[in-house]
Symmetry: C2
Subunit: 413 residues, 2 copies
């Protein structure tokens, strides 16, 4: 065998074009900072700090089957039934069990939804900024995302039906909305969903709604699920996950449901191609899915208090712009810098105060439309109250020092 | 909102064309048979009956982290290191840890490999019959599989380099081989792998080798891994899984490795798009991956004995043709029927002896090339010795009765 470099093939275009995770690509700098003994406050990733509920951990420890066997591709019957119970309790809706497929996290549910509606080269409309992993999943599936910009100054409100219609092309197969929203923290109500449903029904396309932050709404707003809108699910696909509401991101348990028979048939075939979601975690989630409120009832209140801590600290930093998030656990900040990614890296490489620094997620990678978000970052409020307050203030301190340095260098007038 | 059926969109073409699992689509008939009180001997699915090793189950029960958090997309450092240790012990090769990505089973590793080498519309050459899920994964990825037929009468030996070259097209991006083979039980040696490597290097494409049955070889044959062939991994991608060798199919832990930097960069981005493989199982597999031989040493011998039991029983049924498998735990049988799927369904719907029947996997769905395998089925020898012997004999009894019925109906002359 020769090892003729001339004949070494390139990776696929989708492999070369798939985005490196903007959240994870700063990791080497974080690792280096840690190696220097710096404590990093992580505001960069949606990994809650809360403990995983005891019923989940107990159920894992109690797994007592002799053989750790494949689950059915649709999901273990117990897990499918538990998701149906959950939807009844959380959304007040009876979902037929044959319309539920248990997935390996919300990520796989997104992939199944995209692949079930769109062929390679077809398009899905998302709202910019968008959950960054939609971009990666779309690259895998060969699906083109188009971004319709929502404005921070407008609290990320949906555009008019006319503007949304104008953003559709003959190749658009679905509109995808995350509600409550990652990364903006915006919460969309029944009127918003009805508006989108009208648009997709008229256009003969589907609506995909990612509701993994369903319970995390603040300011007394109602939880609004597309499931609860009568007749909606024939044109809609719901993507869900236990990761955030039960603080069990590493379990990799999610769900996809729709009343569109063709979509569910397709999703089941995709599920069969990957055999099954993990067996132990499917069983371990049954107790929580069957009785969600005991845990989620207080969770929104805790995140709301954290949201207020972040808003309080940011309120003392007029140079940082932001909107008021009403759900999930993220806030987008506009920074007085040219390149938030350079600033985020500098915070890890060159800044520390009292041996501490902060890691944020540059927002550029959350935009489908190129060129947007250069001076923005996403903060995830996944730290305890004191650490959170300290982290946001450290961000302000870092920003002051960074701007002074850049001004001295002549980069900022 | 109207629910205008005229505007209800179709599922994607890939969703409509993705194959329903040929293994799983007989399930409703099996469920109905069970409901009638019939005991079904399952020879249809590659789910071993052996108990999962105690170190895996113990490690699951001992999971003691406070938060069930995301693992890094590449895999938990402990899990990546354990795979490297495994490759050292099982294949005698030091694989750099940055060339290892832990996946959600071999299925996800196959998906990453296909997507990393081929864009939608491009092709991968497989050997017919093929592991059926390659077809489903390729449908998801928008990749076209081409099948090159191997002959049962030839013990599924590889064709000549010239024949393989002739099966490549300008769109072919890789050749995919399962070794030891599902569904044929064929085992390919170093000479076979070198032949394929020469072909792919000359053609400037990649070789994907699925070695999830690595340890299961019989008749004193050596284990041959593409990893152990010097220089091979720059043009090769190895797909692996713990499912079969450690009887932990439901853990969903696999691995992908290659020395092709572009392929590994692409695979890592695909891994980032799905965030992580399940955390508990990654940790739980560390003990077994770090010390595989204590468990796998006797496993091949057990399957070899079962293979002999099946061959012994089949030896008394001259109307059933078959080759002699040398590895994995499958055997393909040629049945004296027109439609093995009809026969398999009939065995569930209309046959029982002493309250028992047998379920087999019709082979039609394992062929990429349409029209092949109509009278063939795959038997998985995943039962204890006595049950296995009984199951194969029941198959013979059912076959006799089915043929008598069909002859009476005039369907068989």
């Amino acid at each position: 065998m020769t090892t003729d470099v001339a004949h070494l093939p390139n990776a696929s275009l989708r492999g070369r074009n798939a985005p490196a995770s903007p959240i994870r690509k700063l990791m080497p700098y974080a690792n280096a900072a840690r190696a220097r003994g710096i404590h990093i406050h992580h505001l960069n990733i949606g990994q809650p700090d809360f403990a995983t509920p005891a019923p989940i951990l107990d159920a894992i420890a109690r797994f007592d089957r002799r053989t750790l066997a494949y689950a059915p591709s649709q999901g273990l019957p117990e897990a499918v039934a538990a998701w149906a119970t959950y939807f009844q309790q959380a959304c007040g809706v009876d979902v037929p069990e044959d319309q539920i497929i248990v997935t390996a996290g919300g990520s796989e549910a997104i992939a199944f939804a995209m692949m079930a509606v769109a062929d390679p080269g077809e398009e899905i409309l998302v709202f910019d900024p968008s959950y960054t992993n939609y971009i990666g999943v779309a690259a895998c599936a060969g699906v083109t995302l188009r971004g319709l910009l929502l404005e921070a100054g407008d609290d990320y409100a949906l555009p008019s039906p006319g503007q949304i219609r104008a953003a559709l092309t003959p190749r658009t197969r679905a509109i995808l909305l995350c509600n409550p929203n990652n990364p903006t923290g915006a919460v969309y109500g029944e009127q918003d969903l009805r508006l989108l449903l009208d648009v997709v029904e008229e256009a003969g396309i589907m609506l995909i709604v990612d509701e993994v932050y369903r319970e995390l709404v603040f300011d007394g707003l109602p939880r609004t699920s597309v499931l609860a809108i009568p007749g909606a699910m024939r044109h809609a696909i719901l993507v869900d996950s236990i990761s955030k509401r039960f603080n069990a991101c590493g379990a990799r348990i999610g769900c996809i449901t729709s009343a569109h028979a063709g979509v569910m048939t397709a999703a089941l075939r995709f599920a069969q191609a990957r055999l099954s979601a993990p067996t132990v975690e499917q069983l371990a989630l049954v107790p929580m899915l069957s009785d969600p409120e005991t845990y989620t009832a207080s969770l929104a209140a805790q995140y709301e208090r954290r949201r207020d801590i972040v808003l309080g600290a940011l309120g003392e930093m007029p140079e940082i712009t932001h909107s008021r998030p009403h759900g999930a656990f993220y806030i987008i900040v506009g920074l007085p810098v040219e390149d938030a990614e350079d600033f985020a890296r500098w915070m890890l490489e060159d800044f520390s105060a009292g041996g501490e620094t902060v890691m944020v997620a540059p927002l550029k990678g959350f935009y489908v439309t190129p060129g947007l978000g250069a001076n923005e970052a996403r903060l995830a409020y996944v730290l305890g109250d004191e650490d959170l307050d300290r982290a946001v203030r450290l961000l302000g301190d870092g920003l002051d020092r960074y701007r002074t340095l850049r001004r001295d260098e002549g980069a900022i007038p």
